[in-house]
């Protein structure tokens, strides 16, 4: 029986190969995800280890929680270094300064693609994690060493002059050395420049502050013991760790970030591809089992048990699964490289090291690949066992009994209902985010399967509608195509469902992004009165000088700086979206911003004193606060305050969280510089001209961007588009797999209809006409998938948007894009039909007629 399964695959090479590809691509995505995230993790671990190499103990500022606003370097008092040196067992201790600033080459800042731009204070030899590769370390205030990779990428050589953005504008320095850092092949987009430590402190107003203090112990002193002794003499605002602990913590943080976002996101996309593959496997095995009913009946008549027949089909599935998974693991390496290229292309600079296929990756790939293949082939395999031996004589395949069909219909309904329920639970239910996401993913899979199975009931009407214009335009070939598409509604349904999954996700992304864009656009329009937006690149802080320069431009009525920090409210876990405090002068706000009040009015703005805040609706709801309530807050740097809410406003996108005066913010937060500045133009001035003047005035600050309202919205949209395009690129894999599904299903149908094709040729149909019949059938099938996908995708997006309606989301359908996706489904149909149509047109008339 094993031999029979092997022989079966060998005989049906094309079909087996196409089925295998369906599995292979999904497995490749899973493998690639793990390879890629392992690589990123290794690269970051390498960097973390490198940075504390040879350091026994490290003192850092104590952070209550990690903030997403990293523009302000957190620091400790430099005098602590002296105290550390006095501790018994300390051989040497040195303070380091790290600040954030951009390289300026030829008047333009160097893009970091979301990675940090670091300005490092040079350390003495023993404490320096970097290695000079060329030249020397910077000695004078106007000298700097540059990360070799940055020099290479930007064509900078020793002796060149470059700029570095600082809190005081651009510092001009001469490159006297190039350094490397650790083993990582690439640090992604990160830029790093080293200058004398005292100069960095000056340029960033960090005199008397250190970012960290590194300690080397005397020989034989245990780092753990040393760290305890140091901790004993330092205040609570300083955190003391061994070098090892520090590296471990940084690595864990990165692991957390990758594990909580990147890995699940990529795996979800891979999961969609696997689901599409499963549909195709199911379809292929269903069709071939039907075609081979006579063979199975004969086996049974010859004395094979049901179990043996089951073994023939599952054995074939097992082999296909193993071969495809093995090939998929190989292809996964390629997919990881593709991911690297994709991330680069959309501007996410990610550090890179060598690609490693961990044993865990191989195991998961094999389990998923083989498991999915077997599971999808199981129902057809069971059907094969039910063929009565007598069918070998009659040649009439048994039809599914009314009972089993009813059972299938009920099962389908239950599946779809469960899927819908889980999806709704995931979106609107309460509970931890992970379980909600789990419910959402499970719900989506159930829904997809349920819809795929129930799609058979809509295939006929849909085919009639889609086929009508084709029939009108192309006559008999069109009519035959439509009839053929309607012939096996179940088969057509599953084939088109494979396309539906990929397309539904694409549509979901498109509709969701459109909603996001339109709601952001609407809120910017409604709430912001400022005509000009001054922002820091990648949320870099804007130097104080820049704010002043903008305010002094004639025609500027008000330039209002807005500071941000993240909060922990009432000791509850901090939420990066809502738990914010915006530090802005309330009395100047009306010039640039219109409040939408929930509880309160504009008169509050004049009264807002120290320790008093206005809170956003979400913030109020999340922490159960009303007007007059007081609450405790803590900043990431450990500062604490007691605040009192005076009013409630609504703004889920721009000034989220809460609003207080800059004085209130700085009473517990180190935030000194604004993230953006809203500029209002006086009525008598021309906005465009003022914008040009402001741009000119801020020329000294190349890391600052000046934009009109429309430009600002475009920037937000293009940032969103980057993510959307990345998702499209990853979802394209599912569409490619469904292409193979369509081709496979057509090949099998052609095989079944060889006789008919022969007749058509005999009575005068040309090869071109046969090709057209197949192509139109394919297009009808793929457009059914496209329509279903559009409906399901819009439905998902609608649900998702409803669940976020409190953030001001509203459904807005990007009709043009949806039409383009439908056109794409036509393309999928045409491309999927190329090879099968050629096969059909080459049918030999005589062979075909003798086929029966």
């Amino acid at each position: 029986m094993t031999a029979l399964a092997v022989r079966g695959i060998a005989e049906r090479k094309l079909r087996s190969a196409l089925t295998a590809v369906a599995v292979l691509l999904g497995v490749a995505m899973i493998t690639g995800t793990y390879i890629e995230t392992d690589q990123i993790r290794n690269a970051f671990e390498d960097i973390s280890e490198q940075s504390v190499e040879g350091i026994d103990v490290i003192v850092t500022p104590d952070e209550t929680f990690t903030s997403s606003f990293t523009s302000e370097p957190t620091t400790v008092d430099a005098r602590l270094a002296g105290r550390v040196r006095g501790v018994d067992g300390v051989a040497a201790a040195e303070g380091q300064v790290t600040a954030f600033g951009r390289l300026v080459v030829d008047g333009k800042t160097v893009e970091t693609m979301g990675a940090p731009g670091l300005v490092l204070g040079a350390s003495s030899e023993r404490f320096d994690p970097s290695e000079i590769a060329a030249g020397r370390k910077p000695a004078a205030d106007n000298e700097a060493a540059l990360l070799s990779q940055n020099a290479e990428d930007n064509g900078i050589e020793l002796g060149d002059r470059i700029g570095v953005t600082t809190r005081r504008g651009v510092a001009r320095v001469t490159v006297v050395g190039l350094f490397t850092f650790g083993e990582a092949g690439s640090l992604g987009g990160t830029t790093a420049v080293e200058m004398p430590a005292a100069q960095v402190q000056r340029l960033f107003d960090l005199r008397g502050r250190f970012s960290s203090i590194s300690v080397i112990g005397e020989l034989g002193v245990d780092p753990g013991e040393l760290s305890r002794r140091i901790e004993a003499v330092l205040p609570g605002s300083a955190r003391v760790q061994t070098g090892e602990e520090n590296a471990q913590e940084s690595a864990d943080e990165i692991n957390d970030q990758i594990g909580s976002f990147l890995t699940p996101a990529l795996l979800a996309l891979a999961g969609a591809a696997v689901l599409v593959g499963a549909f195709i496997i199911f379809n292929t095995f269903s069709i071939t089992v039907t075609q081979r009913m006579r063979e199975f009946a004969m086996l049974r008549a010859l004395g094979a048990t049901r179990r043996q027949v089951l073994g023939v089909v599952t054995g074939e599935a097992l082999l296909v699964g193993i071969i495809a998974s093995a090939a998929g693991i190989g292809a996964g390496v390629g997919f990881a490289k593709l991911l690297n290229a994709l991330f680069d292309a959309v501007g996410f600079g990610i550090p890179q090291t060598g690609l490693v296929v961990a044993p865990r990756t191989i195991v998961i790939a094999l389990v998923v690949g083989v498991g999915v293949t077997l599971a999808a082939a199981m129902v057809p395999a069971l059907r094969a066992t039910r063929v009565p031996p007598v069918a070998a004589m009659s040649g009439v395949p048994p039809r599914a009994s009314a009972r089993s069909r009813r059972l299938a219909a009920i099962l389908t309904a239950v599946l779809a209902a469960a899927g819908a329920a889980l999806t709704v639970q995931g979106l609107f239910g309460s509970g931890p985010a992970t379980s909600k996401l789990g419910a959402l993913a499970g719900g989506a899979i159930f829904l997809f399967v349920g819809i795929a199975l129930s799609a058979r009931y809509v295939v006929r009407p849909l085919a009639a509608v889609i086929g009508y214009p084709i029939e009108r335009a192309f006559g008999t070939p069109g009519r035959l195509a439509r009839e053929n598409a309607e012939r096996n509604p179940g088969r057509t349904a599953i084939t088109s469902a494979a396309l539906m999954v990929g397309l539904a996700l694409v549509v979901f992304v498109a509709v969701f992004a459109a909603a996001l864009k339109s709601s952001i656009g609407r809120q910017v329009d409604e709430l912001i009165r400022a005509e000009i937006f001054v922002t820091g690149e990648d949320f870099q802080a804007i130097p104080a000088g820049a704010v002043k320069a903008a305010a002094n431009v004639p025609g500027v009525e008000a330039a209002v700086p807005t500071l941000f920090d993240q909060l922990e409210v009432n000791a509850e876990k901090s939420n990066v979206v809502t738990d914010l405090l915006v530090g802005v002068d309330p009395s100047r706000l009306p010039a640039v911003y219109t409040f939408e009040w929930v509880d309160g009015d504009d008169s509050l703005l004049g009264e807002l004193g120290r320790g008093q805040t206005l809170i956003e609706e979400q913030f109020a709801n999340a922490h159960d606060l009303g007007v007059g309530d007081t609450y405790r807050v803590e900043s990431p740097s450990g500062g604490r305050a007691k605040l009192r809410a005076l009013g409630i406003y609504r703004d889920p996108t721009i000034l989220q969280g809460s609003i207080a005066s800059p004085a209130t913010l700085s009473s517990f937060s180190p935030a000194r510089d604004p993230i953006f500045v809203l500029v209002a133009v006086s009525d008598s001035a021309d906005a465009a001209q003022v914008e040009a003047e402001v741009t000119k005035a801020l020329g000294r600050f190349p890391s600052v961007t000046v934009e009109s309202r429309a430009e600002y919205q475009e920037t937000i949209e293009s940032r969103l588009d980057q993510i959307v395009y990345l998702l499209y690129a990853l979802l394209a894999m599912s569409l490619v797999i469904s292409l193979f599904g369509i081709a496979n299903s057509l090949f099998l149908s052609i095989h079944e209809r060889t006789g008919e094709l022969g007749v058509l040729r005999a009575i005068g149909a040309t090869r071109g006409q046969l090709r057209r019949v197949i192509r139109y059938e394919s297009v009808i099938t793929s457009v059914i998938g496209g329509l279903l996908g559009t409906v399901v995708g819009v439905g998902f997006a609608w649900l998702g948007i409803e669940s976020l309606s409190e953030f001001g989301f509203g459904l807005s359908i990007p009709v043009g894009q949806l039409l383009a996706f439908l056109a794409l489904s036509v393309v999928v149909g045409v491309v999927g039909a190329i090879a099968p149509a050629r096969r059909a047109s080459r049918v030999d008339v005589l062979d075909a007629l003798h086929y029966e």
């Binding site: 035959l480 006789g755 058509l760 009575i763 005068g764 040309t766 090869r767």
Partner: protein, 250 residues
């Protein structure tokens, strides 16, 4: 031009000249036809008979342009098939040739009437409504026109197939064992309809059969053995045909 059939060449709507067909190569080569010359007059009904392996099906396929001869050539309605490309051959089949197969070979997705008009509509043409009505009447399937093949009996399906073969008013209809899958009553009906097509519509029919009672309906009989025409007769009765066949087998 050799004319073995003692009939005027101009009257031949289909003719085969020096047809040979060899399958395989070298030692394993099989000669299915060893030089056949034949002609078929317009409006004639010819039956080709012969034992299994005599080459009668091969001859039919070659005459119909479904297969190319190893040597020799075929003319249909004045066109030499060996001059035609695959595409032109397809168009010639579409316009000049009708087929009736043993296993009906209707398209299951089309109705009876759609199957009949398929040779016209496949080329984007409009069927001649009156002619289609006449055919439906003659074939006694007017009441079944909206039915799909699966809803028709074998005899009805074959009647649809006959109508389909006639719908283009082709120069010639080739029938390959048209009664082979039918019971004797349904078979007789088909033969009678073929006869009427010849008598009333002037249709030329070439039919391969091993059924003597079917052959007896034809005007002329060609007997084939070992790839050669060994005998031909006009208007033989069933008994005589059976005698001939017996003689050929010996």
């Amino acid at each position: 031009m050799m004319d073995t059939n003692h009939e005027g060449r101009d009257a031949h709507v289909v003719a085969g000249h020096g047809l040979t067909k060899r399958y395989g190569e070298g030692e394993a080569a099989v000669d299915a036809l060893r030089g056949v010359d034949c002609g078929f007059a317009r409006g004639s009904f010819t039956a080709i008979m012969g034992p299994s392996g005599s080459g009668k099906s091969t001859l039919l396929h070659i005459l119909a342009g479904l297969e190319r001869p190893t040597t020799g050539w075929v003319e249909i309605a004045g066109a030499r098939l060996d001059d035609l490309s695959d595409h032109d051959l397809t168009l010639l089949r579409r316009h000049q040739v009708g087929f009736i197969f043993q296993s009906y070979n209707l398209l299951p997705v089309l109705t009876a009437e759609e199957n009949i008009t398929l040779p016209v509509t496949i080329g984007g043409g409009e069927p001649d409504v009156r002619w289609v009505e006449t055919l439906l009447e003659t074939m006694r399937i007017s009441g079944r026109r909206e039915h799909r093949p699966a809803e028709l009996s074998g005899g009805e399906q074959q009647r649809v197939a006959v109508a389909r073969a006639l719908v283009r008013r082709p120069a010639v209809v080739f029938a390959d064992e048209p009664t082979g899958n039918l019971d004797s009553a349904a078979g007789r009906e088909i033969l009678e309809l073929l006869r009427r097509a010849v008598d009333e519509f002037g249709q030329t029919i070439v039919m391969v059969t091993h059924d003597a009672s079917a052959a007896a309906v034809a005007d002329r009989l060609l007997f084939l053995a070992d790839g050669e025409i060994v005998d031909q007769h006009q208007g033989l009765g069933v008994e005589e045909i059976l005698d001939h066949l017996k003689a050929l087998r010996q």
